[in-house]
């Protein structure tokens, strides 16, 4: 498992370095990352019911979590917990800690393992697959704590859980902050 993770981490990092984030190939690579990571996670599939988690339309989300989805500018502000991409993030926003919504602060390390969510972008009306990664190796940033949990699941469904420390497999496993990286469009 570890060897597979490391191999995949190496190949996906190398892909990220060789491609433009804005380019189509970059987007495709990220989407592949998300879809390939999911089957790697050690979740119990033997007896799992056939129905996969059915994402609800984000418009149907009622009062949610410690911070409710808001309206207006906050939905487009990566420094706000109400930013659309943060629909299931639980931790400190890296955008308030020297990073951005999809990059780690200087001197920290990206977590190679992660969990995947689906967020609705009100700007274009589409649902996106996002990967929630932690940034690791320094102690808690402490800024902009954000706790939203749309479609989040308990620890036994680890691939959809935001409670566990996703820095756990890093050589320096202290948790610093969290990002939300667009992987691609969610299946309709």
């Amino acid at each position: 498992m570890h060897r597979l993770d490391r191999l995949f981490e190496k190949s996906s990092r190398s892909l990220a370095q060789r491609t433009s984030r804005r380019g189509f190939l970059g987007l495709l690579g990220q989407a592949l990352t998300g879809s390939l990571l999911l089957p790697l996670l050690p979740i119990d599939r033997v007896h799992r019911t056939a129905a996969a988690a059915t994402p609800q339309p984000a418009g149907a989300a009622a009062a949610g979590g410690a911070t409710k989805p808001g309206h207006g500018a906050a939905i487009d502000d990566p420094h706000s917990c109400e930013y659309w991409k943060y629909c299931a993030i639980d931790g400190f926003l890296c955008s308030c800690c020297g990073g951005s919504s999809h990059s780690c602060p200087p001197g920290t390390a990206m977590s190679p393992i992660t969990w995947i969510g689906t967020c609705h972008h009100p700007g274009d009306g589409r649902d996106y697959l996002v990967s929630y990664n932690d940034c690791c190796g320094k102690t808690s940033c402490g800024n902009c704590e954000c706790n939203r949990n749309e479609r989040e699941k308990p620890l036994y469904r680890l691939s959809r859980n935001n409670d566990v420390n996703w820095c756990m497999a890093n050589s320096d496993s202290n948790y610093h902050c969290s990002v939300s990286v667009i992987l691609g469009l969610a299946e309709q």
Partner: protein, 381 residues
């Protein structure tokens, strides 16, 4: 006017004279306090110190005197449990060699509850589940012979320890099922994504003797159960996101799952939900279940309760609703109830206030401001 001035002058003289005539303060003796005898109204509060996560701690608080009695250090993302006889608190945690960074050491540390002094430790493989506190991150067998540690790397397994001889005995793979629900002298159950319980039975050496899966009792897609099980007389009650109560009897060789019942009337379904970090508490002898409830929907399962609902476990009927807003407290994200005949109910709020209620009437007795930073889990002594 003159009479007033003269009276004031006399009073000032008198006060001055008294002060000089009083005995000087005695030298003090610098000592270490000892704990009074254990009270059922004490509570251990696990504070994850989330903004400074390497410095979690367990605070011992008295629900009668409202005093902070002492502290156990708890490192990074700890799990905490008490030995069956209550004499030892065990904390599984991670320390980094250079404070916020450096080599990771996972360890179980043992503290004598009578003195709050560290008494022993067992160093572990660096695998302990760095997840919010529950009864199932770390758990003793009923006879205290084994201690089980939940591992997530992210592969899921658990460690079997010998707390008496301070040894790691082994590791048992749980095939994607999470956490350690200890029962009897040699059984460990874990919650599975499939909605089942995996139960591993150990032999005398702490090695796996057999394993079995229960029937499906919840649907992780439609209505998952919280992992924060609540102790009952014979096992644990698991609440679901939508307000179902699944009581599981762990007293026999395999768990027996009772038919679920709902916290909600048909009119309340879809509107009210349980939620938070410690989602319910049970007074076992009185058969009362206390649940912080909120109006919510998809994704609100970590929201605290704006009311505490009280249920009779025998009849499944709600017997009280205690709104918190009129008390200027809450929402409540964690609850615990003492197990004595005059019980107190503890509730923690997101702003780190801890309220103490009379658990029979709901009368608010006290609100302690800023009891740590993130009090997420209470344990009875």
């Amino acid at each position: 006017m003159r009479s007033y001035q003269s009276r004031a002058a006399w009073l000032a003289l008198l006060a001055c004279g008294c002060a000089t005539a009083a005995e000087p303060l005695q030298p003090e003796q610098f000592t270490v306090e000892t704990l009074p005898p254990r009270s059922p109204h004490w509570v251990y509060i696990v504070d994850d110190a989330f903004s400074n996560e390497i410095d979690a701690r367990v605070r011992l608080f008295d629900g009668d005197s409202y005093r902070h009695l002492g502290q156990i250090d708890a490192g990074f993302s700890p799990g905490v449990t008490l030995s069956p006889d209550g004499t030892t608190a065990a904390v599984v945690t991670t320390y980094f060699a250079r404070g916020g960074h450096g080599a990771r050491t996972d360890v179980v540390e043992f503290t004598a509850t009578a003195t709050l002094e560290l008494s022993a430790e067992i160093v572990l493989p660096p695998k302990h589940a760095q997840a919010p506190p529950s009864y199932f991150n770390l758990a003793y067998s009923s006879d205290g012979r084994f201690l089980y540690v939940a591992y997530i790397t992210p592969a899921m397994s658990f460690g079997v320890l010998d707390p008496v001889n301070r040894k790691v005995l082994g590791e048992i793979d749980t095939a994607g099922c999470a956490l350690v629900i200890a029962s009897g002298g040699n059984r460990v159950s874990s919650l599975c994504d499939s909605g089942r319980l995996l139960t591993v039975t150990l032999d005398d050496q702490g090695l796996e003797a057999s394993r079995a899966l229960s029937d499906v009792f919840f649907d992780a897609d439609r209505d998952p159960v919280f992992v924060q099980g609540v102790p009952t007389d014979t096992g644990y009650a698991f609440l679901s996101f939508l307000g179902q109560v699944h009581e599981v009897d762990f007293s026999g060789p395999q768990p027996v799952i009772h038919p679920p019942w709902s916290l909600l009337s048909p009119a309340e379904q879809g509107h009210w939900r349980p939620g938070g970090a410690q989602v319910a508490a049970i007074h076992r002898r009185l058969g009362r279940l206390y649940v912080p409830m909120h109006r919510g929907g998809e994704g609100s399962h970590k929201a605290g309760g704006t009311e505490i609902w009280v249920f009779d476990l025998g009849t499944h009927r709600r017997i009280a609703r205690w709104p918190l807003k009129p008390l200027r407290f809450g929402p409540a994200i964690a609850v615990q109830v003492s197990q004595d005949a005059a019980p107190v109910l503890f509730a923690a709020a997101e702003n780190a206030e801890v309220a103490v209620f009379d658990a029979l009437t709901g009368r608010l007795r006290h609100v302690e401001k800023h009891l740590g930073e993130t009090p997420w889990f209470f344990m009875n002594p």
